[in-house]
Symmetry: C2
Subunit: 283 residues, 2 copies
């Protein structure tokens, strides 16, 4: 028995496709509708079994859905979430998967019709890969999903989304929206600025010599540019703050090197080593 009868997925790429595959595999909805811009993407999603049917018409797609999950790039989330909320039957729930929350949530709640709930959510899964050809039913297993509920989020809707993500294997946590945006600025958005700067600091002659260390460190520099510019725009102040914190650490390391203060450099590296080793690599 599932909590949702009809789930509409708006944007069936890596995250939306994986969500569909996971929901279908666990039989958590009777019917999964895919909504998107391009036939090709939706045909592939259906062929892969991530959705039962699809449409290019958002209003039609959500018209009989009780849950609409917006999985578009961050920049499109408010517009699509509001459009879905306005076309859903009363009692419907809209949720999202965006990695910034405060700006998006404010925009959506300002236009939310009565009788429709918005549950802000951020599954911390994904990669520099794109498209539902890379989607997997197991993407969210063991992944953290953060819900950033507001005064306007109805408890029942929050619980339904919370429970759905748990059924998909995720570890669900609730955080204050400001805390969420500050945390992701440090652990997700900051590396997405550092990795490109590192790639660009390597001259043409040296770049072909890049081996494992450089490749690991800069893998995320291959990420989708438009998506990330929108994220940086939404979370600009927190990212600037994270950049400043990085600048302080980098200056400390640079000074140690400049002054040949090897004891100080060793202390910086030891601190980083101990903290990095504290993060498991298999989750």
């Amino acid at each position: 028995m599932s909590d949702f009868k009809r789930i509409a997925i708006i944007g069936v790429g890596l995250i939306g496709g994986s969500f569909g595959l996971a929901v279908k595999e666990r039989e958590l909805a009777d019917d999964v509708v895919g909504i998107g811009y391009r036939d090709e993407t939706l045909v592939r999603a259906e062929a892969r079994g991530a959705i039962d049917r699809w449409t290019l018409d958002l209003e039609e797609g959500v018209s009989d859905a009780d849950l609409a999950v917006v999985c578009t790039p961050v920049g499109l989330v408010p517009e699509k979430a509001i459009a879905a909320a306005q076309a859903m039957p009363p009692g419907g729930i809209v949720t999202d998967v965006a990695s910034t929350k405060e700006v998006i949530t404010g925009k959506i709640e300002a236009e939310l019709p009565d009788g429709i709930a918005f549950v802000p959510a951020h599954p911390m899964a994904g990669s520099e890969e794109r498209g539902n050809e890379n989607a997997t039913a197991g993407l969210f297993e063991g992944a953290r999903v953060i819900l950033t509920l507001t005064d306007r989020t109805p408890d029942a809707a929050a619980d339904a989304v919370h429970y759905l993500w748990e059924r998909l294997g995720a570890r669900v946590e609730r955080l204050d929206v400001a805390a969420h945006d500050r945390i992701v600025a440090r652990i997700s958005h900051l590396p997405h600025l550092i990795a490109p700067a590192l790639v660009n600091a390597v001259d043409e002659a040296s770049l072909p010599y890049a081996a494992t260390g450089m490749k690991d460190t800069t893998r995320i520099a291959a990420s989708d540019v438009r998506l990330w510019v929108d994220i940086f725009r939404d979370n600009r102040l927190n990212v600037l703050d994270a950049l400043r914190a990085f600048g302080v650490e980098l200056e400390s390391i640079g000074e140690a090197l400049e002054r040949s203060d090897w004891a100080k450099l060793a202390r910086c590296l030891e601190r980083a080593r101990d903290r990095r080793q504290g993060l498991s690599d298999d989750e």
Copy 2:
């Protein structure tokens, strides 16, 4: 038929152990001797088949070797290479695997006895892992090995080491030593400073939320500290230069963010994306 009868490996950790396993698997020497500090390491290397026998006495270990490969951390390479050169029979070749070359080569050549050749070499393989328990015979397959020969390197010795690495599956290239040290400062040493700075820029409350992006980007922050301090010391000027280049790129990205210049930020990210995508991930 092998070019070397007896190979002595000084320092049988990840690189030395993998070298031994690869040489033995391909039957490129009649006898491989391991030399080290600790019984435990050498017993394990022998049990794994990376060496045929072992000793704690460097002079004894190299006394009948025609090739001595110094695989210790960078800081110990000159001392061990000179000790090996002084104890080897005439005609012997000493080579190394260190990732900095100019300082090390200068120190070794200053003390090199007549009749012994030193061939400076740098296999660009390895990881943040340590110890011969992580050694594999395939570590150097497809990896780049750079030889930084000097006026004093005899052609025959250079060719013998060159050929040996090719037999181990490596792609061998010869570079001017100054060019080598400049290149590795950018593509290897720089990320080993950036990753620790990035880890240290994340506050305690945020760190547990780190997901794939942060983990990939900072994996090498878990590397051996003493080893890396020695590398930074040897290659200090090139690394400072690389840090300055990184600072310029970071400032450019930071300014775009500060001024909300999204077109400029997109250009920085696009350039990095295109350059990063040009690096294959499977070599």
